[in-house]
């Protein structure tokens, strides 16, 4: 019996062992998302090798970033662009091809006219090596510059259609015996008044009484035109339909309910020559023409956020009323205005905000203003009203200067707002040298953030290029690209470039060129609305011109050995958009260069004189002995001491990147700080980065620089793309990428000198 039991037990043991042996415990391992390669030879050979090595990654980046994200996203903006730039109503831009065609045409324009031959050859090599169509590789390498400029145009068009702050006044400051607006005068009549908003790097008011109110007047322009039509409904020469929810019911004649409300007048059968869509006269009460964009502030949408407390229109703290309509003045022979909508909703909205318990005494207060209008948009979806950019102002309350010993001037207090959980910092960069560091080593650090879409970081690459001609260099980049937003060459020259939104781009420049033609100016004065603008711009295409920023970095590394040479190169280059270059070299030189496309420059083109500030080119260093490096407040532009420099994604010195042209009325170009949503994010990051550098001066080595990059308030968790600290003198860099955010990754060392020795052997 015992033997039987042992036999059975033995049999089971054999079975168990067999099963265990057969059962694999292998687990799949996450692949590395960082691609490292050394590419040697001619530009074409390097591109070819790049393409061969990372073919699938290049195709993945194109498909997931362009095909599945950027292109459909930009396609949606055709609705905003095509009514004004009628070229984009043509057949070849339809059926979802608008964005691709627009980017490709712009890319070809850059390729044919501005790209150096070695860059062209490298792009060809990548296409041949990867098997991805050349056109797609070209779009992949040029879309950033075109897209940024395009996006700026779209945001500007949206900007002019949203409500604005006409005026803002702090009540109760006129008799407090304090120079609240820091203008050298005390208690003058307009002490608390801000005409409109001038978005500022600093505080807007000082020592405001805690029981003060803020009096804001919002207004919304009447642009005419149509905001609702969906391009998907456009018949080339037929009717355009619009949903009835876009139009007030009382404006539609009963017999037309459910019928198309819009029509396009066409001079011939060429779709592109059809006029801007107009409301159908038979179905629409002509007096209601503004209903599609009625120019009315939506009083229910008013929100005011004080530090981290949000107040909405229904709160007692907000008292809002609509002021009388101020449009057409009665004139002889003209009947008084009777249109109920104009009378009822087009007047400015007057808001008085009084916090229930007053403002916190002796403190810094940050206010965020939000409001929308009553012109609903259903395309691009989702259905929503037009909201103005969240505007932020900061001020101190009575007793702050006494309590803290600072805050005597507006520029003592940064307009950085509070951490509201949704404001993400943009790309940041800083450089230190000499006394800012423990051992005098120069460092250049950057955390680049722009557009990750939860996938770009999976295509990160560190590529060493050993070209036949020019300096070898290393780029932090992405598969399929010939450029990066940071890099360093064998001479120890390093750069990091951040975007800096600007309307000073060739896209806007081209439009200005058309508008400023005398005959067009006259036409625009006759029709100062979107319809008039569309007539003037009917043949204008959106084509980028100049050297794409990444390509500029690429060329800068192959052809320059020092900061001075790099400055000279940038000075003599035409750039595509607004960019902030931070430069450092092995000798410890640091420089910040803010560039735009200089479309308002009439000095004869870029770089026609020795390097100096000019339209579209502003540079500064920490050296305050040179007045060009000192801001109007007497302090360096972006340094906490003589050995540090920082940049985020706004212009610190090039503040009038686009000078307003008052005669253009609401269509006048405007400077960066007025319109871009990046401005307040950048300002906040700029102040926080300055604080971190100031408190670390003298101690900033590589580890400390990494620590600064990892400061939670400086880390964009959504669109982080890579992070790096360069040591130019040692030809070494410390990189982190391949995860989101990049700074969560371990910083790894890469020795360019050693890599190049390996290549030489």
């Amino acid at each position: 019996m015992k033997a039987k039991r042992y036999g059975l037990a033995g049999l089971l043991a054999v079975i168990a062992l067999t099963m265990t042996a057969l059962t694999s415990c292998d687990t799949a391992q996450e692949p590395s998302y960082v691609h490292i390669a050394v590419l040697k030879g001619s530009a074409y050979e390097r591109g070819l090798e790049h393409g061969r090595l990372f073919s699938a990654d290049i195709k993945s980046l194109y498909t997931r970033l362009l095909t599945a994200s950027i292109l459909p996203f930009l396609n949606r903006e055709q609705i905003n662009i095509a009514p004004i730039l009628n070229v984009y109503n043509e057949q070849k831009y339809r059926d979802g091809t608008f964005a691709y065609q627009m980017l490709l045409e712009s890319g070809r324009h850059l390729y044919d006219n501005f790209m150096p031959e070695d860059v062209r050859q490298e792009i060809k090599g990548i296409a041949d090596g990867s098997g991805l169509d050349f056109d797609k590789v070209l779009v992949l390498n040029t879309f950033v510059d075109t897209m940024m400029a395009f996006r700026a145009v779209v945001i500007f068009i949206k900007y002019i259609q949203t409500p604005h702050v006409r005026s803002l006044e702090f009540t109760g400051v006129a008799g407090d015996s304090v120079d609240n607006d820091d203008d050298g005068e005390t208690d003058e009549e307009d002490e608390g008044v801000m005409d409109g908003l001038s978005p500022s790097l600093w505080a807007s008011m000082l020592e405001v009484p805690t029981d003060a109110s803020i009096h804001i007047v919002y207004e919304d322009a009447v642009l005419g035109g149509l905001t609702c039509p969906d391009p998907r409904n456009i018949d080339p020469i037929g009717e355009m339909e619009v949903e009835s929810r876009c139009v007030h019911a009382e404006c539609i004649r009963p017999e037309c309910a459910g019928m198309p409300l819009l029509g396009r007048d066409c001079l011939n059968e060429i779709a592109g020559e059809c006029l801007f869509p107009r409301l159908s006269g038979q179905c629409f009460d002509p007096d209601c023409i503004e209903m599609a964009d009625p120019g009315c502030v939506d009083m229910d949408s008013i929100r005011i956020r004080v530090n981290d407390t949000q107040y909405v229109a229904s709160d007692a703290a907000i008292k809002a009323k609509r002021l009388p309509w101020e449009g057409d003045k009665p004139s002889p022979g003209r009947a008084p205005e009777t249109n109920p909508h104009r009378l009822e909703c087009q007047g400015p909205v007057d808001v008085v905000f009084t916090p229930p318990d007053g403002f916190e005494p002796a403190s810094v207060v940050s206010i965020l203003l939000q409001v929308g209008d009553m012109s609903p948009i259903y395309s691009p979806a989702p259905f929503h009203s037009r909201y103005m950019r969240d505007e932020r102002i900061t001020f101190t309350t009575k007793g702050y200067a006494a309590r803290t010993g600072k805050g005597d001037h507006l520029y003592d207090i940064g307009n950085l707002g509070v951490d509201d959980g949704s404001t993400q910092p943009p790309a940041i960069s800083f450089a230190v040298r000499g006394g800012a560091t423990p051992e005098g080593r120069t460092l250049l650090a950057q955390h680049f953030a722009l557009l990750d879409s939860d996938m770009v970081h999976e295509h990160s690459a560190l590529l060493v290029h050993v070209p036949d001609k020019g300096h070898p260099y290393v780029l932090l980049t992405w598969t399929g690209l010939v450029w990066g937003f940071s890099g360093m060459n064998d001479q120890g020259l390093a750069y990091a470039v951040n975007t800096s939104d600007s309307l000073d781009s060739p896209l806007v420049g081209g439009m200005l060129e058309d508008i400023l033609k005398p005959e067009n100016l006259m036409a625009l004065m006759e029709h100062p609305d979107l319809v008039g603008l569309a007539q003037v711009l009917k043949e204008r295409q959106l084509l980028a011109t100049g050297l794409p920023a990444g390509v500029a970095g690429h060329e800068l590394l192959t052809g320059s050995a020092s900061v001075k040479e790099a400055e000279d190169f940038l000075y003599r280059s035409q750039t595509t958009f607004g960019w902030n270059f931070l430069l450092a070299d092995a000798a410890g030189n640091l420089a910040a260069v803010e560039v735009d496309s200089a479309v308002q420059d009439d000095s004869g083109g870029p770089g026609s004189t020795p390097v100096q500030d000019r339209d579209g080119f502003n540079f500064y260093t920490p050296d305050t002995s040179d007045p060009a490096n000192v801001a109007p407040d007497g302090r360096p532009w972006a340094s906490e001491g003589p050995d540090d420099l920082r940049m985020t994604s706004f212009f610190r010195k090039n503040t009038l990147d686009m000078e307003p042209l008052p005669f253009m009325g609401m269509f006048s170009p405007i400077p960066q700080n007025v319109w871009t949503g990046m401005y307040f994010r950048s300002v906040r990051a700029w102040h926080i980065l300055g604080d971190r550098i100031r408190e670390s001066l003298g101690r900033i080595d590589v580890d400390h620089a990494i620590e600064i990059l990892r400061t939670p308030d400086l880390v964009d968790h959504r669109d982080s793309m890579n992070a790096v600290v360069f040591e130019p003198a040692a030809r070494r860099l410390h990189w982190a990428m391949g995860v989101e955010p990049a700074t969560d990754a371990e910083f790894k060392v890469f020795d360019l000198g050693e890599a190049l020795k390996g290549v030489a052997q």
Partner: protein, 347 residues
């Protein structure tokens, strides 16, 4: 499914799509078993999927405040946005109507008959082998929520399955009213080539072919495990002298009881499944959802047999659940089976 975090290009987090898909299969299985010898039988099974219904059960966790619309994206906002981009909201899916699954061939050898010792101990032992003919169809690659009809989709057993089973009866001690069983098995899945989706129906969610290649290969993880089983006879019932036993009551008494209940517990270890395409990170995105794991399956069954009453008929009903005892890295499924057995004698 992993939650999908959605970002507006350069505009922050829109929100998170959650998905807790629910799939229902209605399957008809015709099985033929044939006893070649007393201890050797073979069989064939024709599983036909009558209908499959899949509900992706999508949810939404709002993301960042979006200044341009004055609110965070609601679920409706997001799908309106996606529709504008050309991607509709994946809905429920119904398909596989009357579609054949993999045909299963099997053979069972009760090898314990060759050893008297087993018989004396009241122990039976058998070896079974099942093989699947790949007649099932994989899911439509262009559908987000579709499922196929292959063994891999059904996740029921391997394409080649080997079972070693033992059972112990208690004839004398418990009047043959209890049988305990043990089964150990190894299920093999072979590599399968699949067609990559091109985004024909879901351009933003399923546009993989341009970078993973026109096809990809799945190497599903094999199953290993064991089952323990108890069969109880609560009611044996009368034994009539009918045509089945040619009037022999003694023989009728040896026929199956009228009611038999069973409970089976199965532990199945799942090995890692691997994907092979041109793009390794895409492979990983699937592999991380198919890591090694295990499932705990409980099956409760009842069989109603009418042989003793002169009717050559058995009805059975089983309830199989793998949600009652949670597993790991597995797609828990519950199933109810109702069946009919008709034995025939050829000579």
């Amino acid at each position: 499914m992993d939650p999908i975090e959605r970002y507006e290009p350069g505009g922050g987090k829109q929100g998170t799509i959650t998905a807790h898909p629910d799939a229902e299969y209605d399957i008809f299985v015709a099985r033929l078993q044939y006893g070649i010898l007393d201890n050797l039988s073979v069989g064939i099974g024709f599983p036909v999927v009558l209908r499959t219904f899949v509900d992706p059960v999508l949810g939404w966790i709002p993301g960042d405040y979006q200044p341009q619309i004055g609110r965070p994206y609601s679920e409706q906002d997001f799908w309106e946005w996606a529709a504008d981009m050309g991607q509709g909201r994946p809905g429920t899916w119904t398909g596989n109507r009357g579609r054949l699954s993999d045909i299963v061939l099997g053979a069972r050898l009760r090898w314990s008959d060759w050893f008297d010792a087993f018989d004396k101990a009241g122990v039976g032992a058998s070896l079974s082998i099942y093989g699947a003919i790949p007649t099932g169809k994989p899911a439509d690659p262009e559908e987000v929520a579709a499922v196929g009809t292959t063994m891999w989709d059904l996740s029921f057993q391997g394409q080649l399955s080997i079972h070693l089973s033992f059972d112990k009866t208690f004839k004398r001690e418990l009047d043959d009213r209890l049988t305990l069983g043990l089964d150990v098995f190894y299920d093999v899945f072979f590599e399968q080539e699949r067609t990559s989706p091109r985004g024909v129906k879901n351009p933003l969610l399923l546009n993989y072919a341009p970078y993973i290649g026109d096809t990809y290969t799945i190497d599903p993880g094999d199953f290993t495990g064991f089952s323990v089983r108890a069969d109880v006879v609560p009611y044996r019932g009368p034994a009539w002298d009918t045509w089945i036993t040619k009037g022999d009551v003694v023989m009728a008494n040896r026929l199956p009881p009228i009611i038999a209940l069973s409970v089976v517990y199965t532990f199945t270890h799942l090995q890692q499944s691997y994907w092979y395409s041109d793009y390794e990170p895409w492979d990983w995105d699937r592999e991380k959802l198919w890591k090694p794991g295990y499932k705990n399956i409980l099956v409760f069954g009842a069989t109603f047999s009418f042989f003793r009453l002169g009717a050559p008929l058995q009805l059975y009903v089983t309830y199989r659940t793998s949600t009652l005892i949670p597993g790991k890295n597995t797609r828990a499924a519950d199933a109810i089976s109702v069946g009919l057995r008709l034995p025939l004698k050829f000579w």
